[in-house]
């Protein structure tokens, strides 16, 4: 489901008819139920009528109108408003049978006709919805695939760092006590790879829950004297894998621990949120 900000983002492309079919369907679904967005769409759309009307003008042949009216008649007879021929047919049945049988037959006929009409228009709509759904899921699968590939690359880099640096130290990063994992979810954990040669600390964690928008995982370094320094943001992908790299400009011995906290993305560097992970250095 698109939100208002997505609608705002897609509005120009929608107005020019440049969204994909499924994007257009999602866009319409939102606008049907959201008045503020509907107003924006209206204002943008009215300009475009001028664009439509500025092409060289031609008149369609009379047969187009005739065909349109014939088509409407045909559909009306079949589905929505059974007209005279249908009623005549039902009536002739009624004359042959008893009145009540004729009436119930007519009612049954109407119900069947209406149901068939409703069903065929519904099933077309359903098919379109289904297609939109599948396209969305394929997009999210593609995103996860991308994430897995990136995650593997990061692991590779981490292994290379560990293999290449004789002074490398690997520490455990484990869930902090107040963090209770959701049922069915493993509790988060990870490793800290400290390279004295490059003065870098790499954090790789897994099973991190997705955070709501505008919330972030922050990495903190804690000094022996208790001083807390916020360093990097831990990015978490769709598979729950988190990664951060911190360069330190003070000797490693000065640091006692690493914390990963959850707080609002725009929180000042002084505020410390709930601690999700900790590791002793």
């Amino acid at each position: 489901m698109m939100d208002c900000s997505k609608i705002h983002e897609l509005l120009p492309a929608y107005t020019l008819g440049s969204l994909t079919t499924s994007e257009t369907a999602d866009f319409n679904t939102h606008v049907e139920v959201c008045s503020p967005c509907a107003v924006k769409v209206r204002d943008a759309g009215d300009t475009l009528v001028d664009l439509a009307r500025m092409v060289p003008q031609k008149r369609p042949s009379e047969r187009v109108k005739d065909r349109l009216l014939a088509r409407i008649d045909k559909v009306d007879q079949l589905v929505t408003r059974p007209s005279r021929p249908v009623m005549d047919f039902v009536g002739s049945l009624g004359r042959q049978l008893t009145f009540s049988t004729g009436t119930s037959l007519a009612v049954a006929f109407l119900i069947v006709a209406v149901v068939i009409g409703y069903w065929s228009s519904r099933s077309l709509q359903d098919l379109q919805d289904l297609r939109g759904d599948i396209e969305q899921r394929m997009e999210s699968v593609a995103q996860q695939e991308e994430d897995v590939r990136e995650g593997l690359e990061q692991q590779h880099k981490l292994f290379e760092t560990i293999a290449a640096d004789p002074d490398v130290t690997v520490k455990r990063l484990s869930a902090n006590i107040p963090t209770v994992p959701l049922p069915g979810h493993e509790s988060p954990s990870g490793v800290i790879v400290i390279s004295a040669r490059d003065s870098t600390v790499t954090i790789a964690a897994m099973h991190l829950p997705q955070l709501p928008q505008n919330w972030a995982y922050h990495v903190w370094l804690i000094k022996h004297g208790g001083q807390e320094i916020r360093t990097a943001t831990l990015t978490v992908d769709s598979t729950g894998a988190g990664h951060a790299e911190v360069t330190i400009d003070a000797p490693l011995e000065e640091f006692r621990a690493i914390f990963v906290t959850i707080d609002p993305a725009n929180a000042g560097p002084g505020s410390v949120g709930n601690s999700a992970l900790r590791g002793d250095l």
Binding site: P12, L16, T20, A38, A44, T47, V55
Partner: protein, 209 residues
């Protein structure tokens, strides 16, 4: 047969009575199954829809079919029209425009299916007949649209032409212009803004005068 003659005479006087009605009132009648109201709305807008379809599809038969489909949709969907969503003309042209774009995209898919064995041929084919930018350019010689679009900066103009008259999606435009998708999105936004600011009043002046 007698019934038919009677019907058509009733219908033509009904049609006369509806000629002065506003679009919104016509649509309300259409939603209730009033055929004469549809005929009046058709007479008002079929030329516009047909011209747009003819301009974009360059084929009389296809333009006729799209025009018929558009008004058939209006007949079926009249009850879903919501005044909040804008003028009837805007709603109607939007239905028509989307139907034309569906047709354009269908054709493009079919064409690429035919020419798939030879990749070069696909490009040639596109360059010769399916390049909406060039193609629209050719068709616009001396037209009011050409003048109006000329007031846009060329980068914005090509986005409008490819999107609105060519029916290309944002990523197709990016590919065609060899630009990042983000750039195309930005240009689309700027183009629409420019259209609203410049083209709208200018166009109205041309149309009225």
């Amino acid at each position: 047969m007698r019934g038919n003659a009677k019907d058509s005479s009733v219908s033509s006087s009904e049609t006369e009575a509806r000629i002065t009605l506003e679009d919104v009132e016509l649509l309300r009648l259409i939603a209730n199954g009033d055929r004469s109201a549809l005929e009046v709305l058709y007479d008002r807008y079929a030329g516009g829809i047909y011209s747009l379809a003819h301009h974009m599809l360059q084929e009389q038969g296809a333009a006729e079919e799209v025009t018929q489909d558009t008004f058939f949709k209006v007949w079926r969907r009249a009850s879903t029209y919501n005044v909040k969503r804008g003028k009837v003309s805007g709603w109607l042209f939007s239905i028509g425009h989307h139907r034309i774009i569906d047709e354009l995209r269908k054709r493009r898919r079919q064409k690429s299916m035919i020419y798939v064995p030879d990749v070069e041929a696909v490009h040639r084919q596109e360059d010769e007949s399916a390049d909406p930018n060039e193609f629209a350019e050719k068709r616009m010689q001396g037209s009011r649209l050409r003048k109006a679009l000329e007031s846009l900066n060329p980068e914005l103009k090509s986005v409008v032409v490819l999107a609105y008259y060519g029916g290309l999606t944002q990523s197709e435009i990016a590919k065609k212009l060899n630009q990042p998708l983000g750039t195309v999105k930005t240009r689309t936004r700027l183009a629409l803004k420019a259209l609203r600011e410049n083209l709208g009043p200018q166009a109205r002046k041309w149309l009225d005068g």
